[in-house]
């Protein structure tokens, strides 16, 4: 194939790695977004004694290299005997990391809705939850969604780091093939890069498009 010694077997090995990359991204985004929504609402309207400790924990997650978080949590869960497999460790750590960023996005989205709008909603007789669901969510989404898409792409790329704890995702699977076919290193890496790009690029275009469209309406 391509006049090289790379076989279809190698390509399908890389594709299964890419599948794992997407699976980790999915679970991390799912967990991270749910937690981020909850924490974001709490962060947007809690007194300092709730906000400050929560903010600090999330800040730590954002200020320590993800690679270190993977290794650290992996060894921690093994010390306390949780016996999680590396895939689950990868998803859990990445979900927590995602939550830390998602919280700030949600908080920003909520705070972007003017207080006057929310007061108007409440004086029209909407309950607190109705206000949050019917007013804040639709208005905040315009601010949140582009950032959220950006976050998804960031997380997808960050999955490459689960390499360190022994999950054979896209980059690791490419490296395994390079081990056997070192003279094809460049081609294999280019294929891996292309696979990331094919997934990431259309989504990032979509994000940019939404951002532009919604800005025009403002």
């Amino acid at each position: 194939m391509f006049g090289t010694s790379i076989t279809w077997g190698d390509i399908s090995f890389m594709l299964s790695g890419a599948g794992l990359t997407l699976a980790i991204t999915f679970w991390a985004m799912l967990g991270g977004t749910l937690a981020g929504l909850v924490f974001g609402v709490i962060r947007a309207q809690s007194p300092w004694y709730v906000n400050y400790p929560l903010g600090t924990v999330l800040d730590v997650l954002r200020s320590v290299p993800l690679l270190i978080q993977f290794i650290l949590f992996n060894s921690f869960q093994s010390i306390i005997g949780l016996n999680m497999n590396p895939f689950v460790v990868g998803c859990a750590v990445l979900a927590a990391y995602t939550a830390a960023f998602c919280t700030e996005i949600v908080r920003g989205g909520i705070l972007s809705v003017p207080t006057t709008t929310r007061r108007a909603a409440r004086s029209l007789g909407l309950t607190y939850w109705q206000d949050l669901r019917e007013i804040v969510l639709p208005l905040g989404t315009r601010v949140m969604l582009p950032s959220w898409i950006g976050l998804t792409l960031g997380v997808m790329k960050d999955t490459a780091l689960v390499y360190a704890i022994g999950v054979i995702e896209l980059l690791r699977s490419s490296q395994i093939i390079i081990t056997r076919k070192p003279h094809e290193a460049l081609v294999i890496l280019a294929i891996a890069g292309l696979m990331y790009f094919i997934v990431s690029f259309p989504v990032s275009r979509l994000g940019a498009h939404l951002e532009r469209k919604w800005r025009e309406n403002d």
């Binding site: 290299p65 270190i68 990331y196």
Partner: protein, 241 residues
Amino acid sequence: MFDINYTFHWNQAFRALPDMLAGAWITLQIAVLSMVIGIIVGVVLALAKQSRFVAARGFATTWIEIARNTPALFQVYMIYFGIPAVLQLVASWFDIDFRAMGINIFYLDSYWAVLVGIAFNNAGYLAETFRGGLRAVPDTQTRAARSLGFGPFDAFRLIVLPQMFRAVFHPMTNQMVWAILMTSVGIFVGLNIDLTGVTQELNARTFRTFEFFALAAAIYYVIAKIVTSGARLIAWRLFRY
């Protein structure tokens, strides 16, 4: 609750603290240098992307999209293991065998590979940030400057650029923190002198993973905090009216 079957050897980790702090210094060095290069190249890319020349636009777009749509680890790996392969391939087209001539043009130390890789990544992200920042500076500013007698370059350098940097100062601080965190991928291309590299080496020798990496995490956090508070201080000094 949990069946803890592990005795922590914290003492061993604290003994290695001087080595780890020396590693942290290298980490900071790479991050700062990669930011300086990233800002300069980022401004050029942002301008190139708005240029009239198709080639300049294409070059900038390619750079920015690759930097933003592939993992940083991939980029560093590619620069370390891929670029020499490209050079080798190109040389072979022209029937040049540098190796036989005893010239090692393929040599790129891990330190530089990580620096170049992260600078590449920074430049791609910062270019987009700067583009947004440039949009935030109204055209009227340039026109006003030109009518006051500034040349086009001076108008850009003295009027537009400072306002742009004010608009993007916060995202730039974030990028700086990311640059610090990104240096940790250096261990995949042989870097053994930065904070993660030193930690991983200690880990491999002693197998005390948790202790060493917990200490490393704490050091990274402190560095990140110092950088963000420093940036806040600078912003306060620079941008007050």
